[in-house]
């Protein structure tokens, strides 16, 4: 009995230390965003909110943020739509070459972004002589988020009872109507996670954007170039902290929503 207790404590201790390892570097950022010193070094000099008020005047940062939001939302919606269709095809139909098709769609996940970035750059510029823009960034982000979306939605669709759909068909619904009235509500949680996952992936992606963005910077491009200039870093830290706070609120809210959904609907389905 004594050894079991010791074992448990060691593992728990490790878990706590591991969380500390994950959190300490990340929490340093908000900490330094309130520090009244243009250089990000210890010791702390004093509390200030000026980096946050600077954000309101930093037009480069604002337009980069806006560009990233635009691309992220577009990519999330488009990829989730494609992922929904593809996941349905994968789970509902007996496709020929199903495994090869699945592997092909998953392939972008195991090719380094570096390679995808340079090869897309070469083909767009040399092959088609296309101008780079946020559209080209968005297109490459769709490529890397579609497999994520399909994975999330397939996991969701594989779980549910097909007889529900058949029942709706038997009761006279058309294929589209039974999809909209039966399948879609069941898949909704998967759609929400797919939207979030695709958005955050695109919003945070640097390398593809770096190769394919042209003159309009996305937020990661702006942050990366700011990191070379010490004077620009505090603003970036303030923005990073705000983004972290917003995402925590979003995650908690999404979780709360999900729980409400679970308790409110038929539990045998979920």
């Amino acid at each position: 009995m004594e050894t079991i207790r010791k074992h448990l404590n060691l593992l728990s201790l490790f878990a706590v230390l591991y969380l500390a390892f994950l959190y300490v570097p990340v929490l340093l950022l908000p900490l330094f965003s309130f520090n009244d010193n243009i250089y990000v070094t210890l010791p702390f000099k004093g509390f200030t909110l000026k980096w946050y008020s600077n954000l309101l005047a930093n037009s480069g940062l604002q337009s980069a943020l806006w560009a990233s939001v635009k691309v992220g939302v577009g990519v999330a919606v488009f990829s989730t739509f494609l992922g929904l269709l593809a996941a349905r095809a994968m789970t509902r139909y007996r496709l020929p070459f199903r495994r090869s098709l699945y592997a092909l769609i998953m392939l972008p996940l195991v090719i380094p972004y570096m390679v995808i970035g340079v090869s897309t750059l070469v083909i767009l510029r040399r092959g088609f002589d296309m101008d780079l823009s946020l559209w080209t960034v968005g297109a490459s982000h769709v490529l890397i988020t579609v497999p994520l979306s399909m994975l999330v939605l397939m996991a969701r669709m594989e779980g549910f009872d097909r007889s529900l759909e058949e029942a709706s068909r038997d009761l006279g619904d058309t294929a589209w109507r039974s999809f909209r009235r039966v399948t879609l509500p069941l898949v909704m949680p998967g759609i929400v996670s797919s939207l979030l996952l695709c958005f955050i992936t695109s919003f945070d992606e640097y390398l593809l954007a770096f190769f394919l963005a042209g003159s309009e910077a996305t937020l990661p491009i702006f942050i990366f170039s700011s990191l070379r200039f010490p004077s620009k870093i505090p603003d970036v830290l303030a923005l990073g902290s705000l983004i972290l706070m917003v995402s925590i609120v979003l995650v908690v809210f999404a979780e709360w929503l999900r729980r409400r959904g679970v308790s409110g609907s038929d539990s045998s389905v979920i």
């Binding site: 728990s12 593809a86 095809a89 020929p96 570096m114 995650v251």
Partner: protein
């Protein structure tokens, strides 16, 4: 084909029409396939082709040559050879570090946490909601010349000059990567541990296995799919990483990704950059194949993703 649809009882209305049912499914997946072909297959073919072309001044000429690959075997190509080996090595050490640290955490979450597992999953993923760039930058703040560790040690009086070996070397890159990719390792391992049927464990205990024996005979083999997935998920993208070596690697910590970017930028030699990309992909593929072969075909089948 018709016999197949006829034997499938689920396809009532497809049997009535002559059209096979899977055709509907194909239409659903075609848009995704078009994206994958247009944005990945075509560019990859393109880069392989360009890697056999020549750069003359500001133009790329479609003259076929092996020079871009040949340069790797000359004395001038030593830099690229070293960088490729070094990138593989740094990713490998980072991957091992990530997985070794992640496994006990995943184990803890799967077997020690009984209630509110979701809270732990959220706790684990929240740090990854900050920008990847800022997470990497945070390590610069920790390890830097005037960083947290140096100023901390100075304040305590343990050192009077900042330690310079902390930042800008392969080790700092490895530590930073181990932190940045943690969630990619913990979650897949956790999922496969969570799936293990607990009655197997009880059976092993009933049959007299000790805790360790039980772990190595049951838990570990059954967690292999997630562990392998974690290894691949961390190893493959980190070989080609650019951000981390650029921010915390200094001159001694640069990786092959940095030199690919240079070829497409300052050095303006896209064919050579294309060749380096191809070689990097080839090296990753070979490393992954060697790894999977080492694990064995039988295990691989069980781990089929």
């Amino acid at each position: 084909m018709n016999t197949q649809t006829a034997t499938n009882p689920a396809v009532g209305d497809a049997a009535l029409s002559a059209r096979p049912e899977w055709l509907d499914g194909l239409w659903l997946i075609v848009p995704t396939l078009l994206i994958v072909i247009g944005m990945m297959v075509v560019p990859l073919v393109g880069i392989v082709v360009v890697s056999f072309w020549t750069q003359t001044g500001f133009n790329i000429e479609a003259t076929w040559t092996l020079d871009n690959y040949r340069v790797l075997f000359t004395p001038e190509g030593a830099l690229y050879r070293i960088l490729i080996v070094k990138s593989l090595w740094m990713s490998l050490t980072a991957t091992i570090a990530v997985v070794l640290l992640a496994y006990p955490m995943a184990y803890f979450m799967a077997f020690r946490i009984e209630r509110a597992k979701l809270i732990w999953i959220i706790l684990l993923t929240v740090p990854f909601w900050t920008s990847y760039l800022l997470r990497i930058f945070a390590w610069k703040v920790i390890l830097g010349f005037n960083g947290v560790i140096n100023s901390g040690l100075k304040a305590v009086g343990l050192i009077d000059k900042p330690l310079e070996f902390l930042l800008y070397n392969p080790t700092s890159v490895t530590i930073t990567l181990a932190h940045a990719w943690a969630a990619y390792a913990v979650l897949p391992i956790y999922v496969s541990l969570e799936k293990i049927d607990r009655s197997y464990l009880e059976a092993a205990t009933d049959l007299g296995d000790s805790k360790w024996k039980r772990f190595w005979r049951i838990t570990f083999p059954l967690s292999l799919p997630g562990t392998i997935a974690a290894i691949l998920l961390v190893f493959i993208p980190t070989v080609g990483d650019y951000i981390t070596p650029t921010l915390v690697g200094g001159t001694s910590g640069i990786m092959i990704g940095n030199s690919i970017v240079t070829q497409f930028g300052k050095a303006n030699n896209a064919p050579l950059g294309a060749a380096l990309s191809c070689i990097m992909m080839l090296a990753i593929t070979l490393a992954v194949c060697a790894f999977l072969a080492a694990i064995g075909r039988k295990r691989l089948k069980a781990a089929d993703l």
